[in-house]
């Protein structure tokens, strides 16, 4: 062993340690979980690597991924949005009902606008009226799902459908990669861009210490409102994926995305009390949850105990994530 090599190896270990301790530990845990679930799938699920299976995994994961990234932005700013799934529902019924009269792109724009508008209302209630986020967004979730029922009552004869181009396109591939996988990449890229904006820097500051960021001149109220608007916009994107995946809208779908999105971001290492984490981890968390589901399908347990195993696996993943994040965070 040469004399120069020892310090450099030591240095490497030290670097890795400080990288982990700088708050990357939660994400590292999530990556490890992703690896384990991936390998388990490869070993156990026989047709895991078929093109069809990979395509449907990505196709199914996009709505949750988009909602969860939006939820992450809100949670980073010390908020939470229990209405985010119903925003996706509302935006999907708005979009699909307008495709016929307005055309696809204008309809999507209106859908996007409705998602952002819902987010704005949530943001105003939390940041200006200063209601506690959990209960305020729980209350607005009734409003959004009520509006969705109004726009598209369930059981409507000749319910509006998305154009076939969209539905086909969502299932097709470009360069051998499923389009849904490209979309996931797009969501990840959108986060990387968002992360470099002044807004997100302020979101981290507000989530870390509200009082201190207020004292240093961050416009806390505006930043908090914006997190909800961004969250609502991501929910609208999720609604497009929901529409493309099923071809039509359901005024009762989407609600269950909310709580799963929170589980995904915690598994991905974002602290629920705000200020630490990021949507990169969240996307990994979403994939972990999806792979756990696909693993469970492959294992073919008796149907009765499937849900139980699923629940236990999720708690196990949450416990692994909680192992590091809470010890560091202190709060």
């Amino acid at each position: 062993m040469s004399p120069e090599q020892t310090p450099s190896t030591l240095q490497l270990v030290r670097d890795a340690r400080s990288w982990l301790l700088r708050g990357r530990l939660p994400v590292a845990t999530a990556v490890a979980l992703l690896m384990v679930t991936l390998v388990a799938n490869l070993l156990i699920a026989e047709n895991f690597l078929t093109a069809f299976n990979i395509r449907s995994i990505f196709a199914n994961v996009i709505p949750l991924a988009a909602v969860a990234v939006g939820q992450t932005v809100i949670v980073l700013g010390r908020g939470i949005d229990l209405s985010i799934g119903t925003i996706a529902t509302l935006s999907s019924v708005v979009t699909v009902s307008l495709v016929e009269p307005l055309g696809l792109l204008p309809a999507m724009l209106v859908g996007l606008g409705s998602g952002a508008a819902c987010g704005l209302v949530n943001g105003l209630l939390v940041a200006v009226v200063r209601l506690q986020p959990i209960v305020a967004t729980f209350a607005t979730s009734f409003v959004w799902s009520g509006l969705a029922l109004y726009v598209l009552p369930p059981g409507t004869a000749a319910a509006p459908r998305m154009p076939d181009v969209v539905v086909q396109g969502y299932r097709n591939s470009i360069l051998g990669v499923p389009n849904a996988a490209w979309l996931l990449l797009l969501i990840a890229l959108s986060w990387l861009v968002l992360k470099r904006t002044a807004l997100l820097r302020h979101v981290y500051a507000v989530g870390g210490d509200e009082q201190a960021s207020y004292a240093t001149g961050v416009r806390v109220v505006r930043v908090q409102i914006m997190t909800y608007v961004v969250g609502g916009t991501y929910a609208a994107f999720a609604s497009f994926a929901m529409l493309a995946n099923s071809g039509s809208a359901d005024a009762l779908a989407g609600g269950n995305l909310t709580l799963v999105s929170i589980a995904a971001l915690v598994i991905g290492g974002t602290r629920l009390s705000g200020g630490a984490g990021g949507a990169g981890g969240t996307i990994i968390g979403v994939m972990v949850l999806q792979l756990l589901t696909s693993l469970l399908v492959a294992l073919r347990p008796p149907t009765d105990i499937r849900q139980l195993i699923d629940g236990l696996l999720v708690i196990f993943a949450l416990a692994l994530a909680g192992l590091w994040s809470s010890r560091r965070g202190g709060r």
Binding site: L131, Q132, W144, L149, Y214, V221, R306, V314, S326
Partner: protein
Amino acid sequence: MNTAQLRERMQAVEARDLLRHPVVLSLLVLVALFAAGNVAAPGFASFGSLTNVLRIAAFLGVIAAGQTIVILGGGEGIDLSVGKIATFSTVIVAQVSQGQDERLLLAIVTAFAYCGLIGLGNGIGVAYLRIPPLVMTLGMVGVVTGIIRVYSGGQPEGRAPAMLSALVNGTTVGGIRGSVWIWLVVAVFTIWLLRGTTFGRRVYALGANRRAAELSGINLQRNLVLLYVASSLYAALGGMLLLGFAGAASINLADQYQLISIAAVVIGGTTLAGGVGGYLGTAVGAVVLQTMRNLLIVLDIPAAGRQVVNGIILIVLLSLYGRQRRLRQ
């Protein structure tokens, strides 16, 4: 003259503070709701209507008692699994009793034991594995859903024993139903538990300042576990009452109480940060929420509109008391 003025002023301040007291405020809202209901549908504010509201509010009131305790304990404490645990309790009681009175006691004990174990799981997850309460109890919803599936095979059998139904629905003096008396007992017990026992004082201490509570010798982890066990036992009791009312169990009978129980706590003036509030407010909050629901039924708005109005009224109720301090202060 100065003293007179001073006294007058102090009385005015006291009156204002009293008006700001969450319980008083919720009571005023309640009166307003009944008055509004009576205008829209004459007879809404009758004694019979009030007892009917109380009869149904009892289920929410009992389940929200556990929620109150968990939230008071602070540390972002919250229990999203109360609805599912209550549902589990209805399934257990229906299946174990098979509708027979002589098996009712066994069924009740079984339900308390199983649900208590689930609360224990929540508590261990929060206190020892350090999973944030929101996601721990949320994950538990998935687990309990699975357990119910295994336990009942997806189709709960049996029904409420006649004795349980009589206890919950039986009419007593003045047309007041049994569930209201049971709730009254639970309420008195809960207020005593929180105000008059060491356990209750520990709950407030943990919620007000967890670090200080730990330093003064309170065993943080063991007490946290107790909070979640207590919450699951209240949920189990709520489920039993609900079964007596509904007659038969289903795999989602009490799921709706998951989030509405939190709303009842907040409307009652308990802050989600913990340490401030109490059960009296929650009880009034439960009555307010049930009155609102009855009002919406009486008004006979279509489902979509009812949801929207429900949400808006909730927001208004929350803004009356659930507001947090401004940053400047």
